[in-house]
């Protein structure tokens, strides 16, 4: 008789047993970028507070933001914001009942990913004074 697995069986099809799909990855990325942007906005708010406090404190905050680590965080934040923005629009279309077909959802996902990269590049160009 075959061994019966008692008590150690999955009770419901948990997320981890599925092969990751493109749409799943985008979905969790929306959450991760959202939570990550909470850290970004905390940094930005601190920078505004420093601007309101004094010139010396602002110089310190500004130097932190433009340091290698600060700059890296800002660029990642810029991409996170761009992604969350584009995918947010995708969500608003879904809320209106549009674009829910599987094929369309895959293609709009690709558009979101492409859009997030384009917006990040534009953002970097704005920050470096090209625009």
């Amino acid at each position: 008789m075959a061994e019966v697995n008692q008590g150690n069986r999955p009770l419901s099809p948990h997320l981890s047993i599925y092969r990751p799909l493109w749409t799943m990855i985008l979905s969790i990325t929306h959450r991760i970028t959202g939570v990550g942007l909470a850290i970004s906005i905390t940094m930005i708010t601190w920078w505004f507070l420093a601007l309101a406090i004094s010139e010396e404190y602002f110089e310190f905050a500004n130097a932190m933001m433009t340091s290698v680590v600060g700059g890296f965080i800002l660029i990642v934040s810029l991409w996170a914001l761009s992604f969350h923005f584009c995918n947010g629009i995708r969500h608003l279309f879904w809320d209106a009942g549009k674009g829910l077909e599987l094929e369309t959802a895959y293609r709009s996902g690709l558009a979101v990913m492409a859009g997030s990269v384009v917006l990040t590049v534009i953002g970097i160009l704005v920050a470096t004074g090209v625009f």
């Binding site: 959202g34 906005i41 930005i44 708010t45 601007l51 500004n62 914001l81 629009i89 953002g123």
Partner: protein, 126 residues
Amino acid sequence: MRYQTDRQRVEGLGSAKDGTVEWWKQRIGAVALLPLVFLFTYPLLRAIGADFDEVRAIYEHPFNAIIAILFFITIMSHLRQGLQEVIVDYVHGKAAMTTALLANTMFTTLIGVTGVFSVAKIAFGG
């Protein structure tokens, strides 16, 4: 078999007792953020790394100040709603969830108020 009473069905408010109000608030905030995020981020990207007087001048301008204040107010509720969804999904147990939700409200309110106060102080020349 219908488990709802006629009154519950007519009111249509479900178990949370506030119907779809929170859902709608989330969408309205998200739509408001579509233009705001551009109008807020553009001067911000120009300002980061610039010197004190330049940055002060940017946010002393009424347009940039109003946009920044609108942004902080809108992001405060958008952030609270978003983090709340994540907490409700991943934090288990009544005590832990209540604590996390409370901390979330306090954190997002602190961010919003600090942002609005700072921009207002700068704009009023303080």
